[in-house]
């Protein structure tokens, strides 16, 4: 049976807890949000000892099923002040599951004078180490050194200088199969929460564990997992487009649809979209000897990640995503993909959310601190985050903070979190997601782009996964065969609603009201090329969550 691992940072102790029955059927975000609802005072200061950092693999993680190795990280967000779940790929999730760990809950907080700590989890148990030698060091070097010390291939989740300084745009980064920090739980400043716990890194070594977690009905599981793999391989998006171009395949299409936010959300098309497109990225990668497709963890059939080299053929960055390229590119008018890749690399190294940084750079340009489209100036600014420089402290705290520092009123954020890569006026479904998601400006909670723009996931039919009415059933079959349950697809829908209830009620108790479910006023402006505005009434927006 899997267990919950509680790390108490106040005295560097730990304890194992049996999974309470109410949590048995929860994984990933459902788990992190429920635990926060049950155990964290919504009014607490996010950096205080009352807050908790929760790390949970998914319900199917650790099984042989394809693409089940992502991880959820939760806490009260230092950026939004509301509940937060941020999701990442990388090596840690599967290893935790194989070690029989349902979740890690990081609690308490050491004395401020204490240095940082490092926690290692393996079949030998749990150990705390002082981590002073890694303090102030970026994620690239930290992970490389930890691989050297604990063995190649161990899973690492760590923070960089941004998280150590508890800056609210700080991410938590996860090792990919090459030991690089290209994967991140970026959103919501959870790196600052980890920094407040004085936890530099968690190392997870699954040596000596079985290759799969136990399965209640191995035969049934195998049959469903085989079907699942077939769905992924045969669907044109997951079988062709994502492996070929990565998620950046979306740049051209969202631009064509007139929904690619350009120059701090001033227009819906970027003149140089092709220069930063997934197609162009792939050309460069091929010419320079990078890799156009790779998985962020073993068992990924889609392989949307990549290795991007600079003009000299030297490694520059990996996991170069659509959202990142948009935020640091079209949004800032930087059109040189190498400059964008450099900022992405710095973000991974310092532990910064790339979407938040893109919005922040846009606000910096809006305020005249650096010129529009000036890549080298943007790189110089981001580098200040790792130095002792007040500018670094300002931008490391994200778009809203930077807007305040510069007296800028055009700040694309909801509930304090910078908006992702779809203009809400031209892609209105995403606008409703930005407005109403308990996460703040977030693109993952109601990803209407797939249905509205790309016709993937059914033409607005939420009950189809991968355009296939059987795919959701297939996922439920796998869960049932893994745990010996008999859930229906209806139960899964109910679970989803429960998660939202946990999150929304947490936010309400934290002081959020309907007035926070609104987009910034400047979205009433006309957006070219479609000449559209954000024209939902407040009552219409409130309807989104009414029948929950």
């Amino acid at each position: 049976m899997s267990r919950i691992l509680r790390l108490n940072m106040a005295d560097q102790s730990y304890r194992w807890q049996e999974v309470p029955p109410a949590y048995a059927g929860l994984g990933g975000r459902a788990f992190t949000s429920r635990l926060l609802r049950d155990e964290v005072d919504p009014t607490c200061h996010p950096l205080s000892e009352a807050n908790k950092l929760v790390v949970a693999p998914g319900l199917l993680t650790g099984t042989p099923a394809a693409n089940t190795g992502r991880i959820s990280v939760g806490g009260k967000s230092p950026l939004t002040g509301g509940i937060k779940e941020s999701n990442s790929g990388g090596l840690v999730s599967q290893k935790l599951a194989r070690l029989g760990i349902k979740a890690i809950v990081v609690e308490g907080k050491p004395e401020e004078a204490d240095g940082f700590y490092l926690v290692k989890i393996s079949t030998d148990g749990v150990e705390f180490f002082p981590a002073s030698e890694y303090e102030g060091i970026g994620n690239y070097r930290t992970m490389a050194q930890l691989w050297k010390r604990f063995g190649r291939g161990v899973g690492v989740m760590s923070i960089g200088p941004a998280g150590e300084k508890r800056l609210t745009a700080a991410s938590i980064n996860f090792t990919d199969p090459h030991g690089r920090p290209g994967r991140a739980a970026g959103r919501g400043g959870l790196g600052a929460l980890m920094g407040s716990k004085k936890l530099k890194a968690i190392v997870v070594d699954d040596k000596g564990t079985a290759p799969s977690v136990p399965l209640a009905d191995p035969e049934k599981f195998k049959a469903a997992a085989r079907k699942w793999a077939k769905f992924i391989i045969e669907h044109p998006v997951t079988g062709q487009a994502l492996p070929t171009f990565g998620t950046a395949v979306l740049i051209n299409i969202v631009n064509e649809a007139g929904a690619l936010p350009t120059k701090n959300f001033r227009s819906g098309r970027f003149e140089y979209a092709e220069d930063i497109s997934g197609e162009h990225m792939v050309e460069l990668i091929k010419a320079r000897g990078g890799r156009t497709k790779e998985g962020c963890h073993p068992g990924c059939l889609i392989q949307c990640s990549q290795t991007y080299h600079d003009a000299k053929g030297k490694y520059l960055t990996s996991g170069f995503e659509y959202e990142t390229i948009w935020a640091l590119g079209a949004n800032t008018l930087i059109k040189n993909l190498d400059e964008i890749a450099m900022i992405d690399r710095l973000c991974d190294d310092f532990g910064l959310d790339t979407i938040e940084m893109g919005c922040t750079l846009g606000v910096l340009m809006e305020g005249g601190a650096i010129p529009w489209g000036d890549g080298p100036a943007a790189i110089k600014m981001v580098k200040k985050v790792a130095k002792n420089d007040p500018w670094g402290l300002i931008i490391g705290n994200g778009s809203v903070f930077t807007g305040r520092a510069l007296g800028v009123d055009r700040v694309p954020a909801v509930k304090g979190q910078g908006l992702p890569a779809y203009d809400p006026r031209a892609e209105k479904g995403m606008g409703l997601t930005y407005a109403t998601s308990p996460m703040g400006g977030d693109h993952t909670a109601g990803y209407t782009v797939a249905t509205n723009l790309v016709k993937c996931g059914g033409d607005g039919d939420p009950l189809k996964v991968l355009d296939n009415p059987d795919a959701l059933q297939c996922i439920v079959d796998m869960i049932n065969a893994r745990y010996g349950l008999s859930l229906t697809t209806g139960d899964v829908g109910t679970l989803g609603r429960q998660v939202l209830h946990d999150e929304i009620s947490f936010n309400q108790d934290a002081g959020f009201t309907k007035a926070h479910d609104r987009l910034p006023a400047f979205f009433k402006e006309n957006l070219k090329p479609h000449n559209v505005t954000w024209d939902f009434t407040d009552a219409e927006i409130d309807q989104v969550l009414e029948d929950l």
């Binding site: 487009a241 395949v249 197609e279 659509y322 959202e323 990803y447 790309v454 479609h530």
Partner: protein, 71 residues
């Protein structure tokens, strides 16, 4: 009628103008270009999603896309 064409099926970029008679359905343009119609899963005319039987009047911006997606 000039027609600005912007298309990238099968990984080729094509930014060109094409003359079509008013009323020409998008499907005919796709056929003229020699693109396999089944590979073109997304058609945009002036940034709006349209079906293959949508009739072009000229001076439109046409985008033809293979299956794509991401996040």
């Amino acid at each position: 009628m000039p027609l600005r064409l912007k298309s990238m099926p099968l990984q080729i970029f094509l930014n060109a103008s094409l003359e079509v008679a008013p009323g020409t359905p998008v499907s005919r343009v796709i056929a003229q270009l020699g693109l396999p119609i089944k590979e073109v899963t997304l058609i945009m005319v002036d940034g709006r999603r349209r079906e293959a039987d949508f009739q072009l009047q000229g001076n439109e911006r046409l985008g033809l896309f293979p299956p794509i997606g991401g996040g």
